[in-house]
Amino acid sequence: MDGLLLFIAGLIASSAVAMVVGISFALILPGIERKVQARIQQRVGPPILTPGWWSVLKFMYKSKVEPIAQMPAFYKSLVLIGIVIVSFLLLFVTPYWWSILGWGSILGIAGLLKLEEVLYVLMGSQSQSIMSSSMPVPDLAKGSKFIGIRREFNEQHSAERSLKMMAIGSIPLYLGLVVPFIAAGSGMLNAVVSLQNPDYIVSNWMAIPIPSKPLLFTIPGAMGAIVYFLGFVMLMNEKPFSILKAKIDVIEGGVLEYASSLRAAYYLMRNLLMFSLSSIFNTLFLGIPFDPFMPSMMLINMLLSLIPVVSMATLAAFSPILTFRQIYPAAMGISAFGVLAMILASSL
């Protein structure tokens, strides 16, 4: 009985610490991302805290407005659901959750990611921004031959694209995700970490257990990491895979109508997702989990999570948006690479 109470108290405490640290850190990431890009673009760029922290705070202080959406209440709830999903994603990397109902497993992570993707589709089909076909300009009287055709909102178009991205674009992430589990021969995060970092499981909270054989430095692990990284870029909708919120046609896609505190929530969701995915990367490929009760692990995990973020920023600075003409072959190539990594991993 006591053991259970202690466990629950630990769970709550670790979750609280994880959330506070995770959110504070996640909101610094966009600033770093932007700063790196700015430096590449030979300019000064915004201060580190501006794109994350200050923007979110500022949006919180803006007056409430009702979004224009098919079902405003549902649309508003979507972003909150998103935050919950992403928070769980982050919590799943903290060891306390690994023993609950098997959530700290590949299935838990993959399931949440899938939910996250579905959110974009739902958002897109809900939002009806003024920026698309409801812009008040007299354009129907231009004598078009196509009178009475269905006029689609850009967001809906973006939702269709997210469906396509779900079908093809998200495969690499899952393949990359699976590789470490295959290597560990288990579906549980616990096994993946202990395979790479046996010291970690047995050491106390002050220790600094260095992973003895990180997967990243094996061939299948490295391949899996690359695939995972590209999948990460796809899920973050960053360039070059940002077709579903390609600024030049659908502007921001489904999230167009989020204003004031909802926009703050959207920023939070995106940045927390970015951090969670990088944190998962470190857990899976380096064996360094985000453990609130082991400060060394937590710090190393946070520092290392800059690597995927900075790489993504660099990649985004140097690539155009790809259209499906390029995404299909690219995603298939990457997936094939991922499958190869899986096969190699199984022989590990």
Binding site: A38, R43, S55, L57, Y61, K62, M131, M135, K247
Partner: protein
């Protein structure tokens, strides 16, 4: 300073609205944003294309009949507090389009200055203003945002 005004000072999102000027001001605004030499972002000002995200609306140019409704709508879409910056002589006083009109007397095709359509907080003169003037204008819009409830 409250946290509110510090946050507002440290993150400003501007939206550019092409209202129908000659393009000169529009491109100078784009220059101020995109040219690394001016780099608007270093002043904590970020470009957006979504009125829901914006704090400051930049209106360069006279407002034409067709852009009147979109301008009013987009202005209404921006959540409070918001500021409007009139960029260039066109937006400030109608420029030659309003004032140098030969035989026709009054040009009824355009709405100028922008003040006649939506409330304007900062005016930047010049035809076109230099990017540095535009940046200064955007910075001058800050106190209004910061002071708002």
């Amino acid at each position: 300073m409250t946290l509110k005004s510090i946050a507002r000072k440290n993150a400003v999102h501007v939206m550019l609205f092409y209202s129908g000027g000659c393009n000169g001001c529009d491109i100078e605004v784009v220059n101020a944003m995109l040219s690394p030499r001016y780099d608007l972002e270093q002043y904590k000002v970020m470009l957006t294309w979504n009125p829901r995200e914006a704090d400051v609306l930049l209106v360069p140019g006279v407002v034409t009949w067709q852009m009147l409704e979109p301008l009013k709508k987009i202005y209404a879409m921006i959540p409070d507090p918001k500021a409007v910056v009139a960029v260039g002589a066109c937006a400030v006083n109608g420029n030659v389009y309003k004032n140098l009109v030969g035989d026709i007397g009054v040009n009824e095709e355009i709405f100028a200055p922008v003040e006649t359509v939506i409330p304007v907080d900062v005016k930047i003169p010049g035809c076109p203003p230099r990017p540095e003037d535009i940046i200064m204008g955007a910075v001058k819009g800050l106190p209004k945002l910061m002071g708002a409830p």
